[in-house]
C-alpha cells in the first residue's frame, strides 16, 4: 500500500455503469418499465454520487501532504488486464491534476444534465419505454467518458474512447423511428471510426517504438518519464509521400502525434472530420449538451493534453494541431453566421470553440486548453440546455426565424441564456473571456510555431465572429415581435423546475468559472500570489510553455480582445435589434456568398460526391453484386448446394435401388476385398 493507492477511484466510473446495467437489464428482462421515480433516482443518483466521490478525492489530491507537491497523483489498480512477456497493461485509474479537472467537469456538468433530462424527457411516453432507455444510455455514456478520463494507460483510455463513440451513436439516434435521426447517429459513428483508426495507429506506433527502445508500455506516467528514449528516433517515409515537408525521414514522435491527432479530429470535430457534429443535433437536446458541449467532444483535447509530453517533442505535430484548430475555429464560426436552426448555431459554435482549444494545445498552452474546456462546458451546456428549454416552450420548433419576443414568456430561461451568450462572446469578467484571452495570448507569444501572428489574427477574427453570431441568435430568439404562428404563440410557456434549476447552476458557473484561472497579471493587481490556480494546479502534468511577457502587454492584448468581442456584439445589435432590415439587405447584396455560407460551404455535398457516392457505387457494383452475390452467394453457398444436388441426381441416387440382393452383392464384394486386403502380405 503506497501513498498513491486510492481504491475510491474505481467507484467514480463504476456507479454510472451499475446504474446503466441495472436499468438496462430491467429494460431487457423486466415485464414492464420501472416506475419513473426509480428510474430518476437510479439515473441521477449515480452521477451525483460519482461527483461527490470525485470532489472528495480531488480535494484530498490537492491537499494531501504525503504526496509530492510537484507531481501529485492517485492510482487505483483493479487488476492486470493483459500480461504478455515483459509487457503488461493494467486496468487502472489515475487521478492527477489533469484528470481531476476533467472528472469534476464531466460528473458535475453531467449530473446537472441528467437532472435537466428528467424535465426534458418527461413527455416521452413511447412504446419502447424511451424514458428508461434514455437514462440507461446516458449513464452508460457517463461511465465511458469517465473510463476515458481516468484510464491510466492508452488502452483503458481507448476503451472509454470507443465507449463514448457507441453511446453517442445510441443517443444521437435515440428517436430512431425518424430515418434522419438514425442516419445522423450512423454518420457520427462512421466519421468517428475514421478518427479512431488514426488513434489506434498512433497507439500502436507509440507502443511499438517504446518496445523497440526496450520498454514496452502504454502507461501514461511511464511513457512520460521515458519519452526521451524516442526523442531522436526517426522513421523513413514511403516514396509517394515525398511532397511532405521534412521528407524522407520524420521524427517518430511527430508521426505518432499526428496519428493520435487524427483520432482527436474525429472525436472533437475538427477539419476535416467535423461534419458529424452539426448533424448530431438530431438527438435529444440534453444529449447535445452532454456529448457536444461538456464531455465527448473535448475528449480529443484532453487526449492531446494528456500526451503533451510527446507533443512537446514534436514541433511539426504541434504546428499541425495549432493550425487545424485555428482554421476550424474560423471556418465553423463563419458557418455559424447564417444558420437558422437554434441547435445548429450552437453546434457550429461548439466546433469553433473546440478549434480554440486545439489552438491552445498546439501552441503548448495546455492549461489554457483545459481551462477553455472547463469554461466551455459551463456556458455551452448552459446554452444547449437553454435552447432545449426554448424548444420545449415552442413545442419543438427549432427555427429561430420563427421565434422572437420570448423574453417575457420565459424569463428564467432568458436570463440564463443571456449569461451564456455573454460568456461565450468574451465579455469580462464572464468565464469565457478569461479562457479565450489566455489562448489568444499564448498564440500571440508562440514564437516556435510558424505563422503564430497569423494564428493570433485568426483567433481574434473568430472572437469577433463568435460575439456576432451568438448575439444574432440571442436577438432573433428573445427580442422583438414573435414570428411564431398564433397557435404556437398562445401556448408558449416557461419550463419546469427540473429544467430551470440546472440552468441557474450552470449560469452561476458561467459567470464565476473564469476565476479558477485568473491570469497572474490580474492577481498581481490585487496582491494575490499565483492567482491562476488552474494553471499552477495543472503544471506538474502538462508541459505548458512558459512565456515571459510584461503585464502591460498582457493587459493591452486583453483590452484588444475585449474590444473585438464588443465590436461583434455592437454589430449584431445594429443588424438584428435596431435596423432589422439591414440583415436581409446585406444577405441580398452578397447573395452567392451568403448562400454558400448558409449551405455550410457545401462540404457535405462535396464529401457525398467525392467519397460517399464512389464508395456506394463500388459497393453496389463490385462488392455487392460481384463479391457478395457472385462469389459468396453464387459460388460458395448456392454452388455447394448445386454440386451436391447434381451429383446426387446424376449418379448417387441410383445406388439406392431398393433391391436387397444388389446390396448383398456389394456387401459380399466388400467383404471379399477386405479379407483380400487383410491377407495380402501373408
Amino acid at each position: 500500500m503506497t501513498e498513491h493507492e486510492n481504491t475510491a477511484l474505481r467507484w467514480i466510473p463504476l456507479l454510472p455503469l451499475i446504474a446503466a446495467a441495472l436499468s438496462g437489464a430491467w429494460l431487457v428482462f423486466g415485464r414492464r418499465a420501472l416506475p419513473r421515480v426509480a428510474v430518476i433516482a437510479l439515473a441521477c443518483g449515480a452521477p451525483i454520487a460519482s461527483f461527490a466521490i470525485a470532489v472528495v478525492q480531488v480535494f484530498k489530491l490537492a491537499l494531501e501532504t504525503a504526496l509530492p507537491p510537484d507531481a501529485p497523483y492517485y492510482s487505483d489498480n483493479l487488476y492486470t488486464w493483459i500480461s504478455a512477456g515483459d509487457f503488461h497493461a493494467e486496468l487502472a485509474f489515475l487521478l492527477d491534476p489533469l484528470s481531476a479537472v476533467m472528472v469534476l467537469v464531466v460528473t458535475g456538468v453531467g449530473s446537472l444534465i441528467h437532472i435537466y433530462s428528467v424535465g426534458y424527457m418527461d413527455d416521452d411516453h413511447r412504446e419502447d419505454r424511451g424514458f428508461q432507455r434514455f437514462f440507461a444510455y446516458l449513464n452508460l455514456f457517463t461511465f465511458s467518458m469517465l473510463m476515458l478520463i481516468l484510464g491510466d494507460n492508452l488502452l483503458v483510455m481507448f476503451v472509454g474512447w470507443e465507449g463514448v463513440g457507441v453511446c453517442s451513436y445510441l443517443l444521437i439516434g435515440f428517436w430512431y423511428l425518424d430515418d434522419a435521426n438514425a442516419a445522423a447517429g450512423q454518420k457520427a459513428f462512421v466519421v468517428n471510426r475514421i478518427g479512431d483508426f488514426g488513434f489506434l495507429l498512433g497507439i500502436f506506433l507509440l507502443f511499438w517504438s517504446f518496445a523497440q527502445a526496450g520498454l514496452p508500455t502504454v502507461e501514461f506516467r511511464e511513457m512520460s518519464a521515458n519519452v526521451g528514449l524516442l526523442a531522436e528516433r526517426t522513421v523513413a517515409l514511403p516514396g509517394w509521400l515525398s511532397f511532405l515537408p521534412g521528407f524522407p525521414t520524420w521524427g517518430l514522435l511527430t508521426l505518432a502525434c499526428l496519428c493520435l491527432f487524427v483520432g482527436a479530429c474525429g472525436k472533437s470535430a475538427q477539419i476535416p472530420l467535423y461534419v458529424w457534429l452539426p448533424d448530431a443535433m438530431a438527438g435529444p437536446t440534453p444529449v447535445s449538451a452532454l456529448i457536444h458541449a461538456a464531455t465527448m467532444v473535448t475528449a480529443g483535447v484532453y487526449m492531446v493534453c494528456r500526451m503533451s509530453f510527446a507533443y512537446s517533442l514534436a514541433p511539426g505535430a504541434q504546428a499541425t494541431v495549432a493550425w487545424t484548430g485555428a482554421l476550424t475555429a474560423f471556418f465553423a464560426a463563419t458557418i455559424g453566421l447564417a444558420q437558422t436552426d437554434i441547435k445548429k448555431v450552437l453546434a457550429y459554435s461548439t466546433v469553433s470553440q473546440l478549434g480554440y482549444m486545439f489552438l491552445a494545445a498546439g501552441v503548448a498552452a495546455y492549461s489554457a486548453a483545459i481551462f477553455h474546456v472547463m469554461t466551455h462546458a459551463f456556458f455551452k451546456a448552459l446554452l444547449f440546455l437553454g435552447a432545449g428549454s426554448v424548444i420545449l416552450g415552442m413545442h419543438h420548433q427549432q427555427d429561430i426565424t420563427k421565434m422572437g419576443g420570448l423574453r417575457r414568456r420565459m424569463p428564467v430561461t432568458w436570463a440564463t441564456f443571456l449569461v451564456g451568450v455573454i460568456a461565450i462572446a468574451g465579455v469580462p469578467p464572464f468565464s469565457g473571456f478569461f479562457s479565450k484571452d489566455e489562448i489568444l495570448l499564448a498564440a500571440n507569444q508562440a514564437h516556435a510555431i510558424p505563422g503564430h501572428q497569423a494564428l493570433w489574427a485568426i483567433g481574434m477574427a473568430t472572437a469577433f465572429l463568435t460575439a456576432f453570431y451568438m448575439f444574432r441568435l440571442y436577438f432573433l430568439v428573445w427580442s422583438g415581435e414573435s414570428r411564431a404562428d398564433h397557435h404556437t404563440q398562445a401556448s408558449i410557456h416557461e419550463s419546469g423546475k427540473w429544467v430551470l434549476v440546472p440552468l441557474c447552476v450552470l449560469a452561476l458557473f458561467s459567470v464565476i468559472g473564469g476565476f479558477f484561472g485568473l491570469p497572474d497579471a490580474y492577481g498581481d493587481l490585487f496582491g494575490v500570489q499565483r492567482s491562476n490556480s488552474l494553471h499552477h494546479f495543472l503544471q506538474p502534468v502538462v508541459h505548458s510553455a512558459e512565456h515571459e511577457i510584461s503585464h502591460a502587454t498582457e493587459f493591452r492584448l486583453a483590452a484588444l480582445t475585449t474590444c473585438v468581442g464588443l465590436a461583434g456584439i455592437a454589430l449584431a445589435t445594429v443588424m438584428y435589434f435596431w435596423r432589422r432590415d439591414l440583415a436581409a439587405k446585406l444577405a441580398a447584396a452578397i447573395r452567392p456568398l451568403y448562400a454558400l455560407v448558409r449551405d455550410k460551404y457545401r462540404i457535405d455535398e462535396l464529401y457525398d460526391a467525392a467519397i460517399v457516392r464512389p464508395l456506394r457505387a463500388l459497393s453496389s457494383s463490385l462488392l455487392s453484386r460481384g463479391v457478395d452475390q457472385g462469389l459468396i452467394d453464387g459460388l460458395a453457398v448456392n454452388g455447394t448446394a448445386k454440386l451436391v444436388r447434381a451429383s446426387a441426381d446424376g449418379a448417387l441416387k441410383y445406388l439406392q435401388s431398393g433391391f436387397a440382393q444388389s446390396y448383398l452383392v456389394a456387401m459380399l464384394l466388400g467383404g471379399v476385398l477386405l479379407v483380400a486386403w487383410l491377407v495380402r502380405g501373408s
Partner: protein
C-alpha cells in the same frame, strides 16, 4: 482326413450359400442359404479348433448357432408380416425404399 479337406468342404458350402443368397428370389430359400453359409463357417471353426487342440473354436461355433437361431426368429417374423401384407415372398417385390 486333413484339415484341408474340411476347409474345401466348408468353402464349397459357403460358396453355394452365397450364390443362393445372391441369385434366388425366394426369401425363404435365401434364408436357408444364409444358414448354409453360417454352417460352413461353423464347420471351419470346429475343424481348426480340433486341429489346434483349443476349445475356443467349438465355443464360437455354439455362439454362431445361437445367433443364427435368433436371426431366424426375427427374419421369419419379418417374412410372415411381409406375406400377410403383400402376399409374396419374392425379394424383388420389396424395392420401394429407393429414390
Amino acid at each position: 482326413m486333413l484339415p484341408f479337406h474340411f476347409q474345401v468342404v466348408a468353402a464349397l458350402i459357403f460358396a453355394i450359400g452365397a450364390l443362393g443368397v445372391m441369385l434366388r428370389r425366394n426369401m425363404i430359400v435365401m434364408f436357408m442359404s444364409i444358414e448354409l453359409m453360417l454352417n460352413a463357417a461353423n464347420l471351419s471353426l470346429v475343424a481348426f479348433s480340433r486341429e489346434i487342440g483349443n476349445d475356443q473354436g467349438q465355443i464360437l461355433a455354439f455362439i454362431v448357432m445361437v445367433v443364427a437361431a435368433v436371426e431366424v426368429a426375427v427374419g421369419l417374423a419379418i417374412i410372415i408380416s411381409l406375406v400377410r401384407n403383400r402376399d409374396t415372398v419374392n425379394i424383388e417385390d420389396t424395392s420401394q425404399m429407393k429414390w
